[in-house]
């Protein structure tokens, strides 16, 4: 299967699905290890929502590809060079502050992205977005509350969340740099011009940081091209683990 030459709408769905799957997978690594029971449950909820969302995108993509394509073939049989998620979402969990900083940046972007996708000219995509935005609104609220709580908690938590926000800041630039697929999707009316989301995103982020009296991090944008399949070294390990069973038993169904 040549993933990068398939239909543009399929490639766009894969990009959207990959963000959801990879971040959902990362969050699921927390299960059983959360800082407090209530938060263990909350992190699992995020993971459930995101993996569930990935399935919807992949199922639609599989249907459009036809020829017996399935969501699982899309998830388990592509290599890291064929994944189209942002490099931000594949970053390892780190401590709870890192996980929340990564989530906070992504949730704000994801919310704006879904807001636009609700009005997609691709009506099946719009239907997925309309359902997902409710969950994502809650996700954004949850991560914002934690950024405020950690920022305005103890000296230690303030230092830690400040460091985590700075650590992931350079990864956020990729969210707003259109890939060729983003451009095609925008031209066709399927999705937003991602560059135009930067302003509203900064407003959302800044509003929360101000509540916690935190500064907007400084630092340069990283040169990142996850959306074109050039990932960080961590994605290969994530996929090796995630895909291990189907690849070890290629004839099996589960």
């Amino acid at each position: 299967m040549k993933w990068d030459t398939c239909d543009a709408s399929v490639q766009y769905l894969l990009h959207l699905g990959d963000d959801a799957l990879i971040l959902g997978h990362r969050l699921s690594e927390w299960c059983g290890h959360g800082p407090i029971l209530e938060e263990d449950i909350a992190l699992s909820n995020l993971a459930l929502d995101l993996v569930g969302l990935a399935r919807q995108y992949y199922q639609l993509a599989a249907q459009r590809i036809g020829n017996g394509m399935t969501e699982d073939r899309i998830a388990y049989w592509r290599s890291d060079r064929e994944f189209r998620n942002h490099v931000l979402v594949e970053q390892p969990n780190g401590d709870f502050g890192d996980t929340m900083a990564r989530q906070f940046y992504f949730d704000a972007f994801h919310f704006l992205q879904l807001e636009a996708l609700q009005h997609s000219s691709d009506i099946e995509l719009a239907a997925i977005a309309r359902k997902a935005i409710k969950e994502t609104t809650y996700h954004a609220q949850h991560s914002s509350e934690w950024v405020v709580r950690l920022g305005d908690g103890t000296d230690e938590s303030r230092a830690r969340i400040t460091a985590s926000l700075a650590k992931f800041w350079p990864f956020t630039s990729e969210l707003f740099e259109p890939s060729s697929v983003d451009r095609a999707a925008h031209a066709a009316g399927w999705g937003p011009d991602v560059a135009s989301l930067r302003g509203p995103w900064l407003d959302l982020v800044q509003e929360v940081l101000e509540q916690a009296e935190l500064q907007l991090p400084e630092g340069h944008a990283k040169l990142l091209r996850g959306k074109s399949g050039i990932h960080s070294e961590s994605l290969g390990f994530l996929l090796a683990e995630m895909q291990s069973l189907p690849r070890a038993y290629p004839d099996a169904t589960w």
Binding site: E29, C31, P35, N45, L48, R149, T154, L245
Partner: protein, 323 residues
């Protein structure tokens, strides 16, 4: 003042008449102690029990399986919460109970000290371990302590999904390739006996059983529950086409039950004593999650206190300006 014999006798009459005991009711100290021990041990089992299954969430072989397993393990966290809350109604804090787990003072179900080695273990654990737990929990829905009984009713509703998802995994494997079937049989071989041990030692070996029965905390003996479980599970294994690893297992027409071979209690006591394959890892995982979460919990507490102080400081001003 020591409670009179009269109070104890009246309490016994009260629970014998199938009345529920509520947090503010008078209860014998020993009843309270037994319950705190049992409910907290039960809560710890839910939480430690997340670990062997969480071990496979990131390797679930399909997206659907990943969601189901994650939802299942998340349910167990919820069960832990209900149970800690119901134990707290007896006057012991969740922090105290968690401390007792981490220092090794409190126990959790020994079954979770076995490793989950293949995907088939997710099937065997759901089918057998949750299955055995259900046997016990259905009985506990009618336990005499109200908050415990109500927690159990909520938990039992979710548990049947747990067992079904486990059995479904086994079914897929048993109907699958040769390797998948072998994987299922191997998991069954490893989990069968430890599952039977989950009900605890035989009745003549369990010193607290009789008292718990009299107080209506327990309603059935360990051996009765174990027998029910065997009788229920044998046909399920047959339906899968898998063999239970017990040469002595056979239907006893006269008893109307399956006979089964002797349980290796030496193994059970070795695991309880801390020498199971994963005791150290399980406890270490819980301790380190708790330790690494300390700064987060402290931050949440500090923030809540600041917010409360801010509200207190601004409330009168707001009133004054309104007036």
């Amino acid at each position: 003042m020591a409670p009179s014999i009269d109070m104890e006798a009246r309490f016994l009459d009260y629970v014998s008449a199938e009345n529920k005991v509520e947090p503010k009711d008078w209860m014998p100290d020993a009843y309270r102690k037994t319950l705190v021990r049992q409910i907290s041990q039960h809560a710890h089992s839910e939480i430690v029990g997340m670990l062997p299954e969480a071990n496979w969430i990131t390797r679930a072989p399909s997206l659907r399986a990943k969601l189901i397993l994650l939802a299942k393990v998340q349910d167990e966290a919820g069960h832990g919460l209900y149970l800690y809350s119901s134990a707290e109604t007896l006057g012991t804090s969740r922090d105290q109970m968690i401390d007792d787990l981490h220092t090794g003072k409190a126990k959790y179900s020994s079954i979770f000290n076995y490793p989950t080695l293949t995907w088939a273990d997710m099937g065997a654990v759901g089918w057998l371990v949750d299955g055995a737990a259900i046997q016990n929990q259905v009985m506990l829905c009618r336990t005499s302590y109200g908050p415990y009984s109500r927690a159990m009713v909520r938990i039992c509703k979710e548990e049947s999904f747990h067992q079904r998802q486990g059995y479904e995994i086994m079914m897929h494997l048993a109907r699958g390739t040769k390797e998948q079937k072998a994987m299922a049989q191997d998991a069954l071989n490893r989990w069968w006996w430890p599952s039977l041990m989950m009900f605890g030692p035989s009745d003549d070996q369990s010193p607290n059983s009789a008292q718990s029965m009299a107080w209506r905390i327990k309603r059935k003996s360990n051996d009765e529950l174990r027998q029910e479980f065997v009788d229920k599970t044998v046909p399920q294994a047959e339906f899968l086409g898998l063999t239970l690893p017990d040469p002595d297992l056979k239907w006893n027409e006269e008893r109307g039950h399956y006979d089964f071979g002797p349980i290796d209690w030496a193994e059970f006591f070795a695991v309880v004593a801390g020498n199971g394959p994963c005791n150290t890892e399980r406890l270490e995982a819980r301790r380190s999650a708790h330790a690494e979460g300390t700064w987060v919990r402290e931050a949440a507490t500090a923030y809540a206190a600041k917010q409360a102080a801010r509200r207190a400081a601004t409330a009168p001003t707001a009133k004054a300006s309104a007036a």
